[in-house]
Amino acid sequence: MSRNQAGNSVITALVGLLVLAGVAAAGYAVWAHQYKPTASNQTSASQTGTASKTSTPTTSTTTASTDVSALTNDLNGVGSSLAKENTDQSGTNSAINDQQNEIQVPTN
């Protein structure tokens, strides 16, 4: 192998290495773009986790019934307060009617 031929082989090898490095860099960039943990990817992962948890039928049903049960309890509390309002209303009406009694008190 002549001196020139040896030099060409080295150059060819170096070019090959550069091409491989370029291909590798481009590949990494594509991978990084696709799998980089962005905010949307994180939410997606979280939602996937939640979906996994709520996908169990038993858990989902229990939560829904608990919510409605709590609402029913609150509704019962309001019902008691409305009954109290009825009593108040009756007392107020009596008090308004008693206004006339005061004006009619005899003093002779």
Binding site: D74, G77, L82, K84, Q89, T92, A95
Partner: protein
């Protein structure tokens, strides 16, 4: 003023003072003898007025005592309003107790009549104070209900939103919840307004305008109807949520 005028004024003042003193001294035995100067029938009338007045004062004192308990039991009313009403009722009771002592000591028919009349013209226990406290108590309790309904509406909204996100049909429920919210707002507007307007009223306000409380009870009845409507909305929504 010169010296002679000053001397004349002092003499006049001295003379009038002597006359006043003489009249006062002369009046004491006259007042003491006033009762004895009444005829038997007049004495009976006097005693009847005193007895009737005492009955009315006692009735009012009992009523005021009951009112104090109601004010103490009020839950939603602010501390300052509660203190205001408590002081007002206490002042009325103190005044009536003093009036009773004054009435018992009356020796003339005119004085007894004036004191007996003042039981209702000055204190207005039944004309103003009792209905005032009841109106405020009712408005107070209504606001407690409205607070509960508001909290319930917020929870229902959370549940409806969650069901909507899950793909369930909630349009009609949302419409009913919107009506519930409107009913609560209407009721709260009335009950808070009544409390604000009625709280500062005094017996003199009633003397100036006997219709000062007219319509307030009817308005609170309207507010109660709004609260019932909101409750019915909530009841229907919750029943529907169970079936979703």
């Amino acid at each position: 003023m010169n010296r002679s005028k000053l001397t004349k004024s002092l003499k006049l003042f001295g003379a009038s003072g002597i006359i006043t003193a003489a009249l006062t001294i002369a009046a004491v035995p006259v007042m003491a003898a006033a009762t004895s100067q009444l005829t038997t029938a007049q004495q009976q009338d006097l005693q009847n007025i005193i007895n009737k007045g005492n009955q009315e004062i006692t009735r009012r004192l009992d009523t005021l005592e009951t009112l104090s308990s109601k004010i103490s039991a009020a839950t939603k009313i602010t501390a300052s309003d509660k203190s205001y009403l408590t002081t007002e009722v206490s002042t009325e009771a103190t005044g009536l107790t003093s009036l009773k002592a004054q009435l018992d000591a009356d020796t003339t028919l005119s004085a007894a009549r004036t004191d007996a009349q003042s039981i209702f013209t000055e204190y207005r226990v039944y004309a103003l104070v009792v209905p005032k406290v009841w109106l405020i108590k009712t408005a107070d309790d209504q606001q407690l209900t409205e607070s509960q309904l508001t909290n319930l509406a917020q929870k229902i909204q959370t549940k409806i939103t969650a069901d909507q996100t899950a793909g369930k049909a909630v349009t009609s429920l949302q419409t009913e919840l919107n009506d519930m919210t409107t009913q609560i707002a209407n009721a709260l507007k009335i009950s808070s307004s009544i409390e604000t307007n009625v709280l500062p009223l005094q017996p003199s306000d009633y003397d100036n305008d006997h219709t000062i409380l007219s319509g307030d009870a009817a308005q609170l009845n309207t507010a109660h109807g709004d609260n019932v409507a909101a409750y019915t909305d909530a009841k229907n929504i919750i029943a529907s949520l169970k079936t979703l």
